[in-house]
């Protein structure tokens, strides 16, 4: 490192301005990397950067310390520009131990900066990470700017007057590292100090130690002469307004609460704990004061049954799960279809099949949502595209469910659920109402009579005099709702159920590609790939390629003009985090020879990967 010429005490370090930085915090699962990353994100958002995050943590609560499976990482992309993804490659890796380095080093571009806690690079940790020689000495990191810092030692020195036991002091080292990063990127430490004060109100000694470590890390940057430059990332041109940071799962929670208020109807959430959906249950359990009832059920099937029962009794009813849980709910969801009750199912998808990779993201439950029940059993399907969009998607799901009296499946995923972004908060008055109707005149009431436009049957609630009726899973007679084994009636009712879902298409926005209305290539995407795909198409267009982008929010039914849009392009490319499920549906529905770009690695797309897929199309053509 070059020696800075200025006096240590009044050292002024040159500031370099950068547009966008991607940092990955990586360490052992006990090192507090998720917390460090989310604090850095919060501060970045508060000072006006645009941000996007990707937490990446192991399925095990505490895999053996220092081991490769035990690495927990948090990647944040922040910038003065429009940030849509957590970033393709980290510009900076903070590695708290050799395992963290080993897991992440392949993702780094040449010349990336690596901040290492050298104290953790002893023989034992190197062995646990499977290093045969010390990467700090063997030249294997020559392509990178390696900054070696004895973080544990410096943290211990800073805390030498703390009363905390040594082991607890050591646990403050993530705040030391965070402090250093705050200095390096010219951020205030106050938001985190405030957070510490609030979070450790009952454990002041721990809170103080964390605050000391944070300040010490910051001061080390200022006076430590390790860095010759620090960096400034200006505010992004963000719309004025009040913002908060929100993850997809938090947005689902707020969307439920908002739906209950907009519909003036109590909400019930039934769920069995499952990664990565449990946070929705945790979140909603805190809203009892608004009449939200949460039931932690005995299993996934029960959660679906409880939700359908609550829908029958007049609640806004919702259950949440991930793929294996949706598989278990299938039969009960089929009952929701035949009894035509408004129930919402959140599937926070994860990599499958079976237990798969519980903490890793995937979009592979589209088939399950669309086809995974006995009989012809259509449900409405929606997919949010960003963490904050989860909020609006829930409101849309309930709007459709109660208007058409149908089950609605919402396909979020681990990437959206755990990833976070700044969210410009809407005003409640601008949100669409959810109109709930219950019949009030029992004269002429029949449980399976239908609204002429929506084909919805009346939502008559138990407890209302004059509407006593029986529903169930045996085919229902048209209008009467009585058990019917009549052949022609089953055909009619099957058609009703299909037409009800189809009718929704007239009630959703038409598909409108961004880019051109027609041309060579349409990139068609859905769900959480929005950020990477939209950025990739923008870059492709900047390169002069005739590519446009259509992102689907409604997957069943599709927008009514989707077929026309698809046929306005010579080719269709469908990037998905699955083996080609939307592509399969598109090909069969519209007879379009769509090509796939499929990534199933438990990780979201990088922009570059999608861009390469687009470029390949044009190269093959050439």
């Amino acid at each position: 490192m070059e020696k800075n010429e200025t006096d240590q005490k009044t050292r002024t370090v040159p500031v370099e301005e950068v547009e966008q930085v991607v940092i990955r915090f990586a360490g052992d699962s006990g090192d507090g990397m998720q917390l460090t990353g989310s604090q850095f994100t919060h501060t970045a958002a508060v000072i006006g950067n645009d941000v996007s995050t990707l937490p990446d943590y192991p399925a095990e609560i505490r895999a053996p310390a220092g081991s490769l499976p035990g690495v927990s990482a948090f990647q944040v992309n922040f910038g003065s520009v429009d940030v849509q993804t957590p970033g393709d490659q980290p510009d900076v890796l903070v590695a708290m131990n050799p395992a963290a380095l080993k897991v992440s080093v392949a993702d780094l571009p040449r010349n990336a900066r690596i901040l290492l806690n050298t104290d953790a690079f002893g023989a034992n940790n190197l062995r646990k990470a499977g290093y045969e020689s010390n990467p700090l000495e063997d030249g294997s990191l020559a392509a990178f700017q390696v900054v070696k810092i004895p973080i544990s030692t410096l943290n211990a020195q800073a805390l030498k007057e703390s009363e905390l036991p040594k082991k607890q002091q050591e646990r403050c080292k993530n705040f030391w590292a965070l402090g250093l990063l705050y200095w390096l990127y010219d951020r205030p430490i106050e938001p985190t100090l405030d957070w510490i004060k609030r979070s450790f109100a009952n454990k002041t000694a721990v809170g103080e130690a964390n605050a000391i470590a944070l300040r010490a890390g910051y001061a080390y940057g200022e006076v430590g002469e390790v860095f010759t430059t620090h960096y400034k990332v200006r505010k992004a041109p963000i719309e004025p307004g009040t913002y908060r940071k929100v993850s997809g799962n938090e947005a689902l929670v707020l969307g439920c609460v908002a739906s209950s208020i907009l519909a003036k109807t109590p909400l019930l959430y039934a769920s069995y704990p499952i990664t990565p959906a449990s946070d929705v249950l945790h979140g909603l359990a805190r809203y009892k004061h608004l009449g939200v009832r949460t039931v932690q059920s005995e299993d996934e099937i029960a959660a679906m049954g409880i939700a359908i029962g609550a829908a029958f009794a007049g609640n806004l009813a919702v259950t949440g799960t991930s793929g294996p849980g949706l598989a278990l709910k299938a039969e009960a969801l089929g009952l929701g279809v035949i009894t035509e009750l408004p129930v919402v199912v959140f599937d926070i998808q994860r990599a499958g099949p079976s237990t798969g990779l519980p903490t890793k993201t995937e979009q592979s439950d589209l088939f399950l949502a669309m086809f995974g029940r006995s009989g012809d059993s259509p449900v409405a399907i929606l997919a949010p595209q960003t963490p904050s969009d989860c909020f609006y998607t829930v409101i849309e799901a309930f709007r459709i469910a109660v208007k058409y009296m149908v089950p609605v499946v919402v396909l979020s995923d681990g990437y959206l659920g755990n990833g976070a972004e700044p969210w410009k908060l809407p005003d409640a008055k601008d949100l669409p109402p959810i109109e709930v109707r219950h019949p009030s005149d029992p004269k002429g009431f029949l449980p399976y009579m239908r609204d002429a436009v929506t084909l919805a049957r009346p939502w008559a609630l138990p407890g209302t005099p004059g509407f006593e009726h029986r529903i169930g899973g045996i085919e229902k007679g048209d209008k009467s709702g009585s058990v019917s084994y009549d052949a022609a009636n089953h055909q009619l009712m099957s058609e009703h159920r299909a037409r009800k879902i189809d009718a929704i298409a007239a009630d959703i926005p038409p598909a409108r590609p961004s880019g051109d209305a027609s041309g060579e290539l349409l990139v068609l995407s859905w769900g959480s790939t929005y950020g990477a795909v939209s950025q990739a198409v923008k870059r492709a267009r900047a390169e002069g390629l005739s590519a446009s982008h259509l992102h689907l929010r409604h997957l069943n039914p599709f927008p009514s003009n989707l077929g026309e849009v698809l046929k306005s392009f010579r080719a269709v490319l469908v990037p998905e985090n699955n083996m080609g499920q939307l592509r399969f549906v598109i090909r069969s529905r519209f007879l379009v020879d769509a090509a796939g770009l499929n990534k199933v690695q438990g990780q979201p797309f990088k922009i570059a990967e999608v861009l390469e897929g687009i470029r390949n199309h044009f190269e093959v053509k050439r």
């Binding site: 019930l268 039934a270 009892k288 004061h289 138990p462 029986r470 529903i471 169930g472």
Partner: protein
């Protein structure tokens, strides 16, 4: 129909227009009739009832009640009932299930609805056979039972429905039989007044696939000798001559003959409100031929209900936090303003 008019209710007010489709001679007719007779006197209007069922012969029950009803899927009736009761605790929610629906495919849900003490009433029609699928052995069929799926005899040990319910900490557990309509009606009446999960096992005869399954204990000729009617606060006495009783010794039950040195004072006195469920479990497990089969209420204790505690939490949270507008909710937590 309003609550004020419940005094004028008759059986007709609970009888739907649907044609009943059980086999002629099925025990289910008797259960339906007693239910339709018992409910008018319970003081609750028909529109406040919801009958929920799973799959099986017994699960057709809701179609025949002129109340709200939900015929759901196999084994899962307790889950739908939970959703209904939590969403609207004012409703009187009843579950009709069978030995297959409730104890085989739905055993898990039955366990949890009972342990949570959800305020629902559960009628388990026990005919010790799968009827609707035409005669396979069920989880309550006796060991060695020959059926279409067990031509060499079943090698499954049966479960005692009431023991299962008691072990699950049900707050009301009773056993009755379809042919004793008076007893059946009285047990239904008791259950309807119980605040909490009430479980009734009903010995029910399947005339087609398991005819006479309970005759060995319930036929008029043997009944007094082979069953015992439990009465709260009374010694456990049985026999046509009331000359036999059940005594507890060294932690075990035994049958004794009264007379000589043994008097009623030596017998077990049944207490359905005993906070310890051990004796209720032992009584529920008594089997022919070593013991008389016990009928009546094994256990009736009071405990806060799941739905009641849920409402209490909501009420207290409202008091503590007060109402918030949607704008306040969205803006709680760490927000910042961009100008």
């Amino acid at each position: 129909m309003s609550d004020e008019k419940t005094a004028l209710l008759t059986r007709k007010d609970f009888t739907s227009d649907q044609e009943v489709r059980w086999c002629p001679g099925c025990g289910d007719y008797s259960i339906l009739a007693q239910m339709q007779k018992a409910l008018p006197g319970a003081g609750v209007a028909p529109h406040k009832y919801v009958f929920v069922s799973g799959i099986g012969c017994s699960s057709r029950f809701p179609y025949y009640m002129k109340t709200y009803g939900f015929h759901t899927i196999h084994g899962r009736a307790p889950t739908f009932a939970t959703g209904i009761k939590v969403a609207n605790p004012d409703l009187s929610v009843w579950i009709a299930t069978g030995d297959g629906d409730g104890l085989s495919i739905g055993g898990n849900h039955l366990l949890h609805v009972l342990r949570r003490n959800l305020d629902v009433k559960i009628l388990l029609f026990n005919n010790r056979i799968y009827g609707l699928t035409k005669g396979q052995y069920s989880p309550t069929s006796e060991l060695g039972k020959k059926t279409r799926s067990s031509p060499l005899g079943s090698i499954d040990y049966p479960v005692h429905a009431c023991c299962f319910a008691i072990a699950a900490e049900a707050t009301f557990v009773a056993r009755t039989i379809d042919t004793d309509t008076k007893h059946l009606a009285s047990i239904i009446g008791r259950a309807s007044q119980h605040a909490g999960a009430a479980f009734i096992e009903i010995f029910q005869n399947c005339v087609i696939f398991n005819d006479g399954a309970f005759d060995h204990v319930t036929e008029a000729a043997v009944r007094a000798e082979r069953t015992v009617e439990l009465v709260h606060g009374k010694p456990v006495v049985f026999g046509a001559a009331r000359d036999k009783g059940v005594r507890q010794r060294d932690g075990r039950l035994e049958v004794v003959t009264l007379g000589g040195a043994i008097t009623e004072d030596d017998l077990l006195v049944h207490r359905e409100d005993d906070p310890d469920s051990g004796l209720a479990f032992q009584l529920a497990r008594m089997e022919d031929p070593d013991f008389p089969v016990a009928m009546g209420v094994f256990r009736a204790v009071r405990k806060p209900t799941y739905d009641g505690m849920m409402e209490e939490q909501v009420r207290r949270a409202r008091e503590a936090k007060g109402a918030e507008t949607l704008d306040q909710i969205l803006r709680s937590g760490e927000c910042w303003v961009i100008d």
